[in-house]
């Protein structure tokens, strides 16, 4: 799989826009594991996706929903990683320099995700109720005045155009941040922080707007009658949480499996990542609770219906599960200092929270498809398949370059970083 990616230049750009600089990397920062580290996830991921095609033949609608949920989960992780990178550049955070390359590798996922998003366009009729033409026939039995009123915004050509614009912006920004940083390994990092900070400064507000509107277009409009102003925040907070968790998983497995970055990424850095996981767990709960409480409290029918569907026919268990395992349990586990500094607990929670992120997206999208709660086998194969392809290419990118931005002027500070 990977060899064919490398031989094809267009596909190669999807995985990594830059030529490998791994040979120039210092010994301590080289990726030393063998090719199985990315071939295995890619192969399993592709196999799962191929198996899922059987499901496509039997239940296309279910296939699209399962695919969509998996794809949105990966997309939000990439967007979250982009935000995390912006924050660290803008605040001149020096502690995070040693974990930054992993962050940057997650960020260069947009071209691949764009290609993987193409099936969504074919499934739009199933995913998005507002694409149905009969809704707009005035006087027809299906005529829907509310959706007709939104048609200026919710129509297929404009929707596709917007999604393309979002991806173009994300890709451009991640290219700037990724390529500038990787190039500095070879070319020197004299003006690097200032350059990255500048990109982040104008990139952050634009990305925030693009991400909020992407959340309305991609996810909120699956339930086109419903609206919530906080939804954009909900969408990207969950993504940041999962992105930080993914960084922990990748770093921890590199260290555990082949001892890479030993003595470079230390307990102190994991402690800080753990604090972010804790902080964003609480932030997610704050946003999720605010949205729920305000809608429940006012009980305005056109809004409440969203939660009503998610509190009946078995979905109430799903909702309760989210409260308990996306908030209460991670909150209690990640609260003490020692659990954030212990790699087994922290990496367990990281895997857990990535799973919970998918569970959260599933909770939003799946009730649109099926009012009765079920987990289809396609949910698992497509969700895991897409995630493994996504994660496999991240690892593949990491094999091609130094594992830390070697010539970043703040690398020394980061290596000596200690929590006080």
């Amino acid at each position: 799989m990977a060899d064919s990616v490398r031989s094809n230049s267009v596909l190669g750009w999807l995985a990594d826009p830059l030529a490998s600089t791994a040979d120039a990397a210092q010994r301590a920062y080289r990726f030393t594991a063998d090719r199985r580290s990315y071939l295995a996830p890619l192969a399993i991921g592709v196999a799962l996706l191929l198996v899922s095609l059987v499901g496509f033949a039997t239940d296309a609608s279910q296939f699209y929903f399962s695919y969509f949920i998996g794809w949105i989960s990966c997309l939000t992780i990439a967007v979250g990683a982009l935000f995390f990178l912006f924050f660290n550049h803008l605040t001149k955070a020096s502690w995070s320099v040693v974990v930054r390359r992993v962050n940057e590798s997650i960020v260069w996922a947009f071209p691949l995700l764009f290609v993987l998003g193409i099936p969504i366009v074919f499934g739009m009729h199933d995913l998005y109720h507002w694409t149905h033409e009969e809704l707009y026939v005035v006087g027809g039995p299906e005529y829907d005045p509310i959706l007709a009123g939104k048609r200026g915004y919710l129509n297929t050509p404009f929707w596709i155009a917007r999604v393309v614009v979002y991806f173009a912006l994300w890709t451009f920004l991640s290219y700037k941040l990724y390529a500038d940083s990787v190039r500095s390994d070879v070319e020197g990092g004299e003006g690097l922080p200032a350059k990255l900070r500048k990109t982040s400064a104008w990139g952050l507000p634009l990305t925030a707007v693009a991400t909020a509107f992407a959340s309305y277009d991609l996810l909120m409009s699956t339930d086109p009658h419903w609206f919530s102003t906080i939804f954009g925040v909900y969408f990207f907070i969950g993504g940041i949480l999962a992105a930080v968790s993914l960084m922990v998983v990748l770093l921890a497995s590199f260290q555990r499996i082949s001892g890479m970055l030993d003595g470079v990424v230390t307990t102190e850095h994991y402690h800080d990542l753990g604090k972010y996981m804790f902080g964003f767990t609480v932030f997610w709960a704050y946003i999720a609770f605010s949205q729920y409480m305000l809608i429940w409290y006012a009980g305005i029918p056109e809004e409440t219906i969203f939660y009503k569907h998610r509190l009946m026919h078995g979905w109430e268990w799903h909702s309760a599960f989210l409260v308990l395992f996306h908030f209460i349990v991670p909150f209690l586990v990640l609260l003490p200092r020692f659990t954030k500094r212990s790699l087994p607990t922290l990496s367990f929670m990281a895997v857990w929270l990535i799973g919970m992120h998918w569970f959260d997206i599933h909770w939003i999208a799946a009730p649109v498809h099926d009012a009765h709660h079920t987990f289809h086998w396609l949910d698992l194969t497509l969700g895991l398949g897409l995630f493994l392809v996504f994660a496999g290419t991240i690892v593949y990118r990491l094999t091609r370059h130094s594992l830390v931005p070697e010539k970043d002027p703040y690398l020394g500070d980061s290596l000596h970083f200690e929590n006080v």
Partner: protein, 463 residues
Amino acid sequence: MVSRHTEKKTPLAWYIAFGLASSMAALLLLSLAYQVWNGVGVWGNNQPVAWGWPIVNFVFWVGIGHAGTLISAILFLFRQKWRTSINRAAEAMTLFAVMCALIFPTFHVGRVWVIYWTLPIPNQMEMWPQFKSPLLWDVFAVSSYFIVSLVFWYVGLIPDLATIRDRSSTWLRRKVTGFFSLGWTGANRHWRNYEKAYLLLAGLATPLVLSVHSVVSFDFAVSVLPGWHTTIFPPYFVAGAIFSGFAMVVTLMVIARKVYGLENVITLDVLEKMNIIILVTGTIVGFAYITEFFMAWYSQVEYEQYAFINRAFGPYAWAYWIMMTCNLISPQLFWFKKLRRSIPVMFALSIVVNIGMWFERFVITITSLHRDFLPSSWGYFEPTLTDVTTFIGSFGLFFTLFLLFLRFVPMVAMAEVKGVMPEADPHYYDEGDGHTAESKVPYIQPAQEDNGRNEAGETRGGK
């Protein structure tokens, strides 16, 4: 340098400012007495607009207060060392702003003497407050916020009060500061516990500060009113609170550093960082405005759509456009480094921001109320003189307290600033004997400064 301001002879300017502020505070007392005696009808509130200036001012003052906790708690958790020079003043500002805020929920009720009914106290009527009301949550949120802020501020003050105690030359001064510094000796064991307590308080204050303004936003957002009922209010109000609070800190610090000669402590870099936070939160607030507008259209609910058209083009369009100009456009000037670092620009902008944020609360409260579902109950709100004097009076109270603070309490956290000075780094003196590698600054005996009242001190203090 910091202690001196509490020790030197009080300058005349302070007395003038204090006289002015306390007469404004007296105006507050008069207005409140007048209002309690005559009834809330002395305000401009009417039937559709039953929440007028008092609520607007309440949210405004609570918002101002949030920057203090943000600076002292959140920036502490993020290990931002630049916070040390401003955190004491910002926390004091929090306390005084919350005091000003608490006046309004207390006095905007029709019968202030039964306000204790809002507390869950066992009583002979076996009556309890309604725990589903966000106004009751306000009572809990703001009062616990005040208490925690006070404790946090006081814990921070203990080592500094001990410094004042040790420097005091009069018996009374030594006794008073000795009492409040609780026998602090600065022992290693003290410091270890102190740091732990400070971290815990910072950790507790952070969710508190976010929840307080969220609860304040629930007052509006839980209702069914178009323009009030929207889910983005909690984070958006918090962002607005940080925005206005930081603007207030900038306003006060620009004056204080000039008057008290603290330019080397509250440096331009610190002010620049605050301006960046103003820029960031201002942009978040601006983004929330756009989101609300978009979602009002997207919802296809005619009341929701009308509420926003009414804001932009109705009878209160002037207020809306003042808000938009001050909050959405003016902070964008801080993109330019030159403007961000210019004292006159930031001073002017920080005032503009607070005007804008006052109007934000005005727009949210009043434009949503004055025209809602039934056109037969549309009204127009006009403030009365009592509305205005109460608001001006609240500034009087704020500045009275703030001036007292400047006079009697060390306005910069000395112990913390010392801890982040380059000299506090254990590796600072590694190079050369008492010389840093780069700057070649000669090593100065700290003891010299500690003897107090040296010549440099006198001249600087005389400003």
